[in-house]
Structures are given as C-alpha cells and as structure tokens.
C-alpha cells in the first residue's frame, strides 16, 4: 500500500520567514502529486499540483513545490510567509493514474504576526 509522510506536524514561523514543508511518498511508479491547504474554518483547497514536466511547480499565493523523483519527495516552499498563510497543509499522491488519492497526516502552520 502507498503511504505519504509529512514529517513536520506543527510549524511556527514569524512573518517574512521562509517555509519548507516536507512530503515523502512510497510508490515506485508514475505519480501525480498535490498540496492542499485548509484555512481555519474553511474546506480543503488545491494549492498546487504536479503531473509531469518541470519538476518545480508554482501554485497560488506564492507557493511552489519541487518534485525530486530520486528522493520520492515533493516539498512545499514559500520564500516569505504571511500571517494569512496560517492553515493546515496536506500533501497527497495519486498513483498510476488510478482514482485513489492518499493523503499525508498534515502540517499545521502557525505564522505569528
């Protein structure tokens, strides 16, 4: 069975700090990769996605993620966080083009103003 690991469960940063959230997955074949964000009191929203091509993908609100196939990783980054980035972030994997998505355990980001 596939698994998705997010190693940072809770991250606290000050505004303007840089962010990197780790995501690793276990699947040897072709994968589609996603980051979702859940702002307080809101539903899950797609932040960015990787299907193929350039391994560095850019999403909404200044977020980007890099797919490193050799490391089975898809880390999320943002150069300078804002208070409004306070949310929970979930990494997800869709493997082999099948319709199942596997989610990591989530990382709660708290940005202090």
């Amino acid at each position: 069975a596939q698994s998705v690991s997010q190693h940072n469960h809770h991250v606290i940063l000050s505004e303007a700090a840089s962010l990197e959230l780790g995501c690793n997955y276990s699947y040897g074949g072709t994968v589609n990769l996603f980051w979702y964000v859940q702002y307080p009191g809101q539903h899950l929203q797609l932040l960015l996605k990787y299907f193929s091509g350039d391994p560095l993908v850019k999403g909404i609100k200044g977020f980007e993620a890099e797919f490193i196939k050799s490391k089975f990783s898809f880390n999320l980054r943002k150069p300078s966080v804002q208070w409004s980035d306070t949310a929970e972030y979930f990494c997800a994997v869709n493997a082999g083009g099948f319709n199942k998505f596997y989610f990591g355990s989530g990382t709660k980001l708290n940005v202090k103003p």
């Binding site: 996603f34 797609l46 299907f51 869709n94 319709n99 199942k100 990591g104």
Partner: protein, 116 residues
C-alpha cells in the same frame, strides 16, 4: 473545478441513531469519494462511489455501517449508522475530475458530526 455542497454542515446526534449526509455537485462527475477526518488527523478514505456501480469500501469500513447511495452523476449520500462517540468526526465528500491519469480532487465543506 467543481463546487460541492454538503448537508447538514454539522449535527449533534445521540448514540445508536443514524445520520444521512448529502453531497451535491454542480456538474456531472463519475467519481465521488467519502472521507473521514478525525480531530488532529489526516483524511481517511471511507469509500469510492462511482455512479452505476456499488460503492467500494476501504479496509476498516463496511457497508452496513456506512451505506452509500449514488443515484446520479451529481449527488451522493453517506449514512453513518448506529452511531457511537467514536464516529464523531468531519465527513468530507469529494469528486475527482479531469482526464484519465490526470485527476484532480475537489472537496466539499464537510459535515461535522458529534455523537453523544
């Protein structure tokens, strides 16, 4: 993208009763999913509900406890039967759209269930 609504948004239920959650999508989709998100935890897939076929349940979830209906391409229901406090959770409906092999998944706002 797809816009998904769920009813009810929250409910408080007594042990032993059942609750049916409705999921409505603004466009026709083949694949719908039901997830559970327990406090402080990630999303756990309960079942996949494709129109025209029986729902497929994940390990640990059974049809008697979580019966699902999928009468058409825009609607599904999940029933949580004979509830216990352990069923307290957020239940999420989602849909997958896109070309085969390039699916994106969109989520509803969730139903927050508390069982007393």
């Amino acid at each position: 993208s797809a816009v998904i609504s769920q009813k009810p948004s929250r409910d408080i239920c007594q042990r032993g009763t059942s609750l049916t959650i409705q999921c409505q999508v603004d466009s026709q989709v083949t694949m719908m999913f039901w997830y559970r998100q327990q406090p402080g935890q990630s999303l756990t897939l309960i079942a996949t509900a494709n129109q025209g076929s029986e729902a497929t349940y994940e390990s640990g979830f059974v049809i008697d406890k979580f019966p699902i209906s999928r009468p058409n391409l825009t609607f599904s229901t999940l029933t949580v039967s004979n509830m216990s406090p352990e069923d307290s959770s957020i239940y999420l409906c989602s849909v997958a759209s896109g070309l085969a092999g390039f699916y994106e998944q969109y989520f509803g706002p969730g139903t927050r269930l508390t069982v007393t």
